[in-house]
């Protein structure tokens, strides 16, 4: 069975490293915060100007002056800090953020990512995505394996305008965990009940099958 969005987020949460700073993008990545293992300490940064972002507020406690990059109302945790956008992107471009999790429309086997524009159809802008992918040492993409038309979002080359060059390190989809290596995509984990063949058929690029290929543990 393909994973739902929450399960994709849960699998990505297993990638969190203790005592690190993490930026979560809009969409599935935001859900990762709900699955932080109890023995892991991470601080979440939101590029609109907060480090130490907490969960959504309880009804009636929302504050128009406290939002995340998705413009959702949030709370701050003890030890949180606020700053302006230039300071925020100094943290991001300056490589002080250890992990960035983003959504994507396409990822290429060389690690290129496309997630900001469909020419003639959707032009909402890149927001902070181009800055995020330009410097972070570890970029994980959270996305469905195929788009609504059933086409693979993992490709030899992106056909949409790209957001960043050779930057994605790992992709977690509803079907698989795939690492981006110098030789291309490497399939390391399959979702429970999903066959290797199903993943190969859903991927428009070559897949190196990891010799330790395993089923995801959720």
């Amino acid at each position: 069975m393909a994973l739902n969005k929450d399960q994709i987020a849960k699998r990505i949460a297993q990638e969190l490293v203790n005592n690190t700073y993490v930026n979560l993008g809009i969409g599935i990545p935001t859900l990762v915060a709900n699955h932080v293992p109890s023995d892991i300490n991470v601080e979440f940064q939101s590029e609109n100007g907060i480090l130490g972002m907490g969960p959504f507020p309880k009804e009636g406690k929302e504050d128009a002056d406290l939002i995340n990059a998705g413009k959702q109302t949030i709370t701050s945790l003890p030890g949180a800090v606020l700053f302006d956008s230039a300071m925020s992107f100094s943290m991001i471009r300056g490589n002080h953020i250890h992990l960035s999790v983003l959504g994507a429309m396409q990822v290429a086997e060389n690690g290129d990512i496309a997630n900001w524009k469909i020419p003639g159809k959707m032009v909402k802008g890149m927001g902070g995505a181009m800055d995020l992918v330009s410097s972070s040492n570890n970029i994980i993409v959270a996305m469905t394996h195929t788009n609504r038309q059933g086409q693979s979002k993992l490709l030899k080359r992106c056909t949409l305008p790209i957001t960043g060059v050779s930057c994605v390190k790992k992709i977690v989809t509803d079907l698989a965990v795939i690492e981006v290596t110098s030789k291309g995509f490497k399939l390391t984990e399959v979702a429970p009940g999903v066959s290797e063949d199903e993943i190969i058929n859903s991927t428009d690029a070559d897949l190196i099958i990891d010799k330790n290929l395993r089923t995801m543990v959720l």
């Binding site: 939101s46 590029e47 609109n48 100007g49 907060i50 969960p55 959504f56 507020p57 309880k58 009804e59 406690k61 929302e62 504050d63 128009a64 002056d65 406290l66 939002i67 995340n68 990059a69 998705g70 413009k71 959702q72 109302t73 949030i74 606020l82 700053f83 302006d84 956008s85 230039a86 925020s88 992107f89 991001i92 471009r93 524009k117 032009v123 909402k124 802008g125 890149m126 927001g127 902070g128 995505a129 181009m130 800055d131 330009s134 410097s135 305008p161 790209i162 957001t163 960043g164 060059v165």
Partner: protein, 232 residues
């Protein structure tokens, strides 16, 4: 002591003319200069180039200026959530320049800080690179981006004093301090205006030297774009 107080939004926007370049602080609807924008929307000013991270929503924020076709060009990083914006952009009525958010922030900061240009890795290898100069530093590629300035910058703070010193609240800080620096004439609107000397000088975010006019906003609607709650 210099007193930068003006009576109201209408006085604060005096001097804004057709075809000027204006900066607006805020992220989404958080920390936007509500009162200044409303005052501008009531004037027959047209052909504006607006620099703002976002473009408001259909009936609030910069959406008010868009609806009245006062904006000729938008320079932003993200412009979703606004149907009228999309319509004007796709029909060619509105010129749009999209730039990475961190680049936008740094271009404003640089404009206010006397740095004419800088190299950034953001956008290298993408459409944003265009014909910009590329240079390699420590084996990594960077593109040249130029500073931004504006005829007027409109910023919003939580508290301010008569000298123009400002304190922001929560994530409503965002682009406001940077644009305050980059405006040739910066207008700050605040929720609470106090006499100089009443703010704790250790806590001031924007020194008053960057602000030329300040007023207390008549009313703050402070709309929430995406209310999200944790269910009890």
């Amino acid at each position: 002591m210099i007193n930068k107080t003006v009576a109201n939004a209408e006085e604060a926007i005096s001097g804004v003319k057709n075809n000027m370049t204006l900066m607006f602080g805020g992220f989404g609807l958080c920390g936007i200069a509500e009162n200044s924008i409303k005052a501008l929307s009531k004037k027959p000013i047209k052909g504006l180039t607006c620099i703002s991270n976002n473009a408001g929503i259909d009936d609030f924020g910069l959406g008010l200026l868009l609806k009245k076709r006062q904006i000729k060009k938008m320079i932003s990083s993200y412009v979703g959530e606004n149907a009228e914006f999309e319509r004007q952009m796709l029909s060619g009525e509105l010129d749009v320049e999209l730039i990475p958010q961190g680049t936008l922030a740094e271009r404003c900061r640089s404009g206010g800080a006397g740095i004419p240009a800088f190299f950034t890795p953001a956008g290298y290898g993408t459409e944003v690179q265009g014909d910009k100069e590329v240079r390699v530093f420590n084996k990594k590629k960077y593109i040249l981006e130029y500073a931004l300035n504006a005829d007027f910058a409109f910023v919003k703070a939580w508290k301010g004093d008569t000298l123009g010193n400002l304190i922001y609240k929560g994530t409503a800080r965002n682009f406001n301090p940077l644009m305050a620096m980059a405006g040739r004439l910066t207008v700050a609107e605040v929720e609470h205006l106090v006499p100089a000397g009443e703010l704790n000088l250790n806590q001031i975010h924007t020194p008053g030297i960057f602000v030329q006019r300040i007023f207390q906003g008549e009313f703050y609607e402070k709309r929430i774009e995406n209310k999200t709650i944790t269910k009890a």
